[in-house]
Symmetry: C2
Subunit: 227 residues, 2 copies
DNA sequence: CTAATAGTGTCTCTTAGACACTATAAA
DNA sequence: TTTATAGTGTCTAAGAGACACTATTAG
């Protein structure tokens, strides 16, 4: 343990919504410490392959989970002597968001767990998860981040449901639609309408070309109902 | 160059306001590469002394600059193959804010430069500086971050001037004062009044006990005048 | 008296939140 | 006909921005 420089790794908090509940993707650890336990997917830099930390995060996410996320962002770096029993370590934490369809394609090694049901995790992964969830909830209040939870086509009702899961409270339907309209982020898919649902069909939307990648931001409170 | 794990360091963007202009603190590099050039102060972890990355940043800031900042925050981690000619490196960037009086106490090795006049810096330090300035400006719009640029006692006029430097545009005096009032962050210092200034004296204020350390946040736009 | 900053209220406009009914399809 | 969701307009209240004058001190 006399390495002059600590070991650096990347850990990824992968989030999605399944059955209306926020889930986090976990992998079973193959090695000690904590072998066999569920933990955040992570890995080391490959200084041959990775040109920067974003590259590395994309590669690690793909290799460990089979998922390619359209939304991947650096969260925060956690470093210290007490987070890993092997000694001083550094973790550059990221978070990623995928929609349920992509979530289904994840590896078998991979498990989705409702965020609320995850009590303990190895290392300081519970703290990292906590930080990621807080960040996602906060960003959902003032940005279009939740559209990344949507498949290519979706209805406004589905999108509102995603916002509600992330924000954690019900939103006013008309205020929500007004806001989405003002963001000018979505376009109707002509003729595409949900069907076979036993009620009035809904117009489907997709994200405007080029509008994804940078988040649309607004000052609004999304028509969140008061407590 | 075959280290399996990259070298990790901490770099710090230290900011203050001197003569009404935002300045960054730079140190002359003693070693290659870029020996003799001005760069952001930085250093390596000391896994004996530092218990986490915040600890390390505090220590490095103190050792390299002689400054102890009441405000120090992790900014972002920059990693990659092309940021340092020696190979793959990782820098956990932080930013710190001090008021002008503290700035004066900095080491002789240490130089303050107007942010706008800094064109090039070694490594990717120009990019790190850019990111820090952007973060500080953004946070100034909706939080009380600029009070950390103030000495213990200060007038509302001085505080407004600091906000204006960070935000980059003039603020409406009455809207600004109303906002400060609503934040309930400041208290008058009884009897303390500026004097000898050739004009009406001003009430001095200090930050309320315990109110520092977490930023007061508001949704307002600070009475910023429209462009 | 002049110069320079401190300090103080009100109006208006924008924006967010609250609210209820009709429309449409499947069973 | 029932059930379930889609879709649509307006009012109101709160908050932010804009605005002009008096007060006080040093020189």
């Amino acid at each position: 343990m006399k390495a002059a420089t600590p070991v650096v790794s990347i850990d990824i908090v992968l989030l999605t919504i399944l059955d209306g509940v926020l889930h986090v993707g976990l992998t079973k650890r193959e090695r000690e410490p904590f072998a066999g336990q569920l933990a955040l997917p992570g890995g080391r830099f490959d200084i041959e392959k990775d040109s920067d930390e974003y590259d590395a995060a994309v590669r690690i996410l793909r290799e460990k989970t089979g998922v390619t996320s359209p939304y991947l962002e650096q969260l925060q770096t956690f470093a210290g002597a007490n987070r890993d029993p092997r000694g001083w370590t550094v973790s550059i934490a990221h978070f990623a968001i995928v929609h349920a369809k992509v979530a289904d394609t994840a590896d078998a090694r991979f498990t989705w767990r409702p965020v609320e049901s995850v009590r303990t995790l190895p290392f300081d992964h519970a703290r990292i998860l906590q930080a990621a969830v807080t960040r996602v909830r906060t960003k959902s209040l003032y940005s279009s981040l939740p559209v990344h939870l949507m498949p290519e086509m979706f209805t406004l009702g589905q999108l509102q449901a995603a916002y509600e899961v992330l924000v954690g409270s019900p939103l006013d339907k008309r205020s929500f639609r007004r806001r989405m309209d003002e963001l000018e982020l979505l376009v109707e898919v002509p003729g595409a309408v949900t069907t076979g649902s036993g009620h009035r069909p809904a117009q489907q939307y997709r994200v405007k070309d080029g509008a994804l990648g940078h988040l649309a931001v607004s000052d609004s409170n999304l028509g969140r109902k008061a407590a």
